[in-house]
Structure formats: structure tokens, C-alpha cells
Amino acid sequence: MSVQHYQSIFGNASIEARQFNTLFVIFLAVCAVMYAAVIAFMLVALARRRRGGRANVMEDGRHHESDPALRTGLIGWSAVVATGLVALAIASFVADRSMASTAARERLSLTVTANQGWWDVQYIASDNSKMIRTANEIHLPVGVPVRIYLKSNDVIHSFWVPSLAGKQDLIPGRENDITIVPRKVGLYRGQCAEFCGTQHAKMALVVQVEPYSDFIKWWERQLQPAAAPATPLAKAGYDFVTSRNCGACHAIAGTPASGTVGPDLTHFASRRTIAAGSMPMGEGNLYGWIADPQSIKPGTKMPTIGLEPNELHSVVAYLETLK
């Protein structure tokens, strides 16, 4: 997968995206032809007087009849434009219907709930105890139709992973959904596409499309509660995270921290990004983020807590164990 298709609408990574591409090419072709026709007409129109053609002007206040060819042209032009538009409308309608038809075949469903600045992700399972919760990162098995239910906890957001599908809004008080059939393994980035407040720009997510077996492995891994901290440093971090500020907003399965205000952190370190796609996961970025989130993502709901250096070391050490 090429880098520039990471978030491009030409990523072509799902059946829907492929249909989009085909339709886009059709539209582009028709439009290009029309544009060429208009520009050619104009250039000729502007140029022909230079070559000394007879102009139908009103120099002496006398009316000339319009060129009859132009009247025919007008009728022809309207016919061409109307036909072109009807063709495009039909193409669009057909593509739309065929995208909608996949919705009936979903085999996996998950709920994405948007919050100002981040995405809450919950996978639905018929066995409720197999449901998993994560944030800002979605894993999808390749070739499996998946339905994503879209809800919002605060304002209107829009779920958009360009390489996989068009956008769909998440509107408080309403429930929308979108169905995707991923067809190419890869990593795709998406971003909130409806202005949602101060940190609209840094409200991203990544989607990992992977083979079914990997997906199941990932799911099982996600079901595991967080392991107990092994090192003394991580233990100190664990104590801080569960007894101080962090647990009031974040949940880590298997620990007393069960907050639902912020992203679930149970497998935080296994994710690819920090702060809803703001930065790649890594020790340095983690230090920066925990120490001073407000200067990395000004206006984020994550407060600058002001950890002492030893606290910061231990918290980062613990968070890194949350694979």
C-alpha cells in the first residue's frame, strides 16, 4: 500500500471505495468532455472574428437575424447536457443502490461513538461477555461485511475513512450506520469530517484491515484484562493510574480504573497512535502527551496534570505494559 493512499479516497480498500472510484471516473470523464466542449466553443467563438468572419452586430441600430445554426446548436446542446446528466444520475443511483445492498449482508457489527476529540469503539458480540471496547483504532477482517453503528455523545461528528467508505454523520439523538466490505489488507487513516469544536482537526482514527485469523487473534487479545505490572516502576505507575486522576476518566480492564469519560486504555500500548491519531505510539510521544497534552492538542479534554518526574516515568512505564 502506498503511503499517499493512507487517507486518500483512492485507497480503494473496500468494495464501496472501488464502486466510488468507478463512479468518480465516469463522472470525471463526462465532465471533462463537457468542459472541453465549452472551452472549445468559447475559443472558436472568440477567435473567429479575428479571422474576419461576418459579425452579427448592431453597428447601425439594425437587427440581424441570429445565425440559424446557433439555434440548432442551442437545442442540440440542451439535449446533450440533459442526456449527460440523466446518464450520470442513473449511474449514481445504480452505484448508490448497490452500495446499499451490501448493508443487508453484514456479519460483524460494531458501534462507534464519537466524543469531542476521540472515538469510542465497541464490538458487538452475541455473547455479551465477548464484547470488546477500544478507542481510536478499528480492526476489520478482510472480505467480511461489517456494519458500523454510529452514535454521538455530544455534537455532530462525521465518520470518514476515505480509503474504505464515504462519510456518515454521528448525530446526537439519532443512530446512523454504514456498511463496509474491506477488500485490501492494510492500514488506513480516517478523520472526523464534521466540524466538532476546538479539536476537530486532531480527531482521527486508524483502521487496520487484516486477515480473518489475525482479526480473531486481535479480538482474543483485546478480551484479556490488563496484566499485572511486573517491574517496581510499572507497579508505581499502576498505583498512580488506578488511584489518582487517570481512573476517573479512563478504564483499564482488570484494574479498579473503570472511567468511561475518556478512551479505554486496556490495550493502549498496542494501538498505533496516541490522542486520536495525533501522534504515532512511542515512548517519546507518550512522555510528551502525558506531561503536557494541552500543548500538543490545545483544548483537548485531557488535562495537564502536572506529574512529578518520577510519577511521569512510572506512568509511562506502566502504560507501555498495556499491550
Binding site: 455530544d154 446526537p172 476546538t198 488511584s243 489518582r244 486522576n245 481512573g247 476517573a248 476518566c249 469519560v261 503536557d292 494541552q294 500543548s295 490545545p298 483544548g299 488535562p303 495537564t304 496534570i305 502536572g306
Partner: protein, 184 residues
């Protein structure tokens, strides 16, 4: 030119309206944590052995009191940190009412912040280790707004939820109480 005259006249009028706006609308994005110093004046008491002690208002009050974004953040924290579970939307329940004009531990913003940070003995938990000072003061600003203390222009009329109390933007402002008096 007269158009400039007119413009500056309008400007003056609007400035007068908006003077309060400067702090009211300022978005404080706190990159650095606030200090935890609690100044000497936050006691809710009104009697001191050996004569009156001059109460000084915590300087942070000026940043948070009447500041619309702070009150709004506080409103969000009030429900996220489960304050509403005990105090409802100010009517009370497990905890005392907050929209009334009785303040067991003082109704000044710094006194409220102290109540939140330190807790109170009959069931109010201490939030000092769960919330940053910034958040505590945002909450205090909101709690104070519930009883109609700050300007109507800094509060919001309702939340996007079931309607509850009469809109703060319309309720009459309550007068300051004895315990509120401090050198502003």
C-alpha cells in the same frame, strides 16, 4: 470623516457592552498545571477568636468566576464526575441542594473549590487526587453559577439533556451572602 465618527460611536457602545466580555469569553487552555497553594482566606467561618481576620479572595477567582468557557467545562465535569448523581441538577438528593441560597461551607468560589478539593465530613468526597486544580476551579465556577451568583451572560441556558431547572440565563441573580464577602 463622519462615517468614522459613527463607527467609533458604535464601537464605543459595543465596547461598553462587551467590557465584561474580556474575561467572560477568554478560553484558557492550561498548558501548565496551576499551583496548589490555598490562600489563607478560604475558611467558611465568620467568627474568629480575637477579632475579625480580613478575608482575601483567592486570585484564581478572577480567572474562573464569570468565565463562560470555564463554567461550561465545569458543567460537563459536573455530570462526568458524577456530581449530578448526588446533587442532581442542583436540587440535591444524596448531597445537598446547590441551587438554593444556603451554603454550608461558604458560597464563594474559593470556598467551593476548597469543598470540592478537600471534601466535607458528611459524605462529600475529596477530589484533590482525581481532578486537577484547573478542573476543580472550573467545577467551582459552575457550582457557583447554579445558585445564580455570576453574571447571566456567562452561563448557559440548558444542556442537551432532559430539561431540569429554570434556565440560568433567566433566573434572578441572588444577592451575596455573609460568607461571600471577601475583598474582591
Amino acid at each position: 470623516m463622519s462615517s468614522r465618527c459613527r463607527a467609533s460611536f458604535t464601537l464605543l457602545a459595543l465596547t461598553a457592552l462587551a467590557l465584561g466580555a474580556c474575561n467572560r469569553e477568554e478560553r484558557h487552555s492550561r498548558a501548565k498545571p496551576m499551583g496548589e497553594t490555598v490562600p489563607a482566606g478560604v475558611s467558611p467561618d465568620t467568627i474568629w477568636p480575637g477579632g475579625t481576620v480580613a478575608q482575601t479572595l483567592d486570585p484564581r477567582a478572577k480567572i474562573y468566576d464569570n468565565n463562560a468557557p470555564a463554567i461550561s467545562q465545569g458543567q460537563q465535569l459536573f455530570s462526568q464526575m458524577n456530581c449530578s448523581g448526588c446533587h442532581s441538577h442542583g436540587g440535591g438528593g444524596m448531597g445537598p441542594a446547590l441551587i438554593d441560597d444556603e451554603w454550608r461551607y461558604g458560597g464563594r468560589i474559593d470556598q467551593i473549590a476548597t469543598s470540592i478539593a478537600e471534601g466535607r465530613p458528611n459524605g462529600m468526597p475529596s477530589w484533590r487526587s482525581k481532578l486537577t486544580q484547573d478542573q476543580i476551579w472550573q467545577l467551582a465556577a459552575y457550582v457557583r453559577s447554579m445558585s445564580g451568583q455570576p453574571s447571566k451572560d456567562a452561563v448557559s441556558s440548558r444542556a442537551e439533556s432532559m430539561s431540569n431547572t429554570a434556565p440560568q440565563t433567566l433566573t434572578p441573580r441572588e444577592p451575596a451572602h455573609t460568607s461571600d464577602t471577601a475583598e474582591q
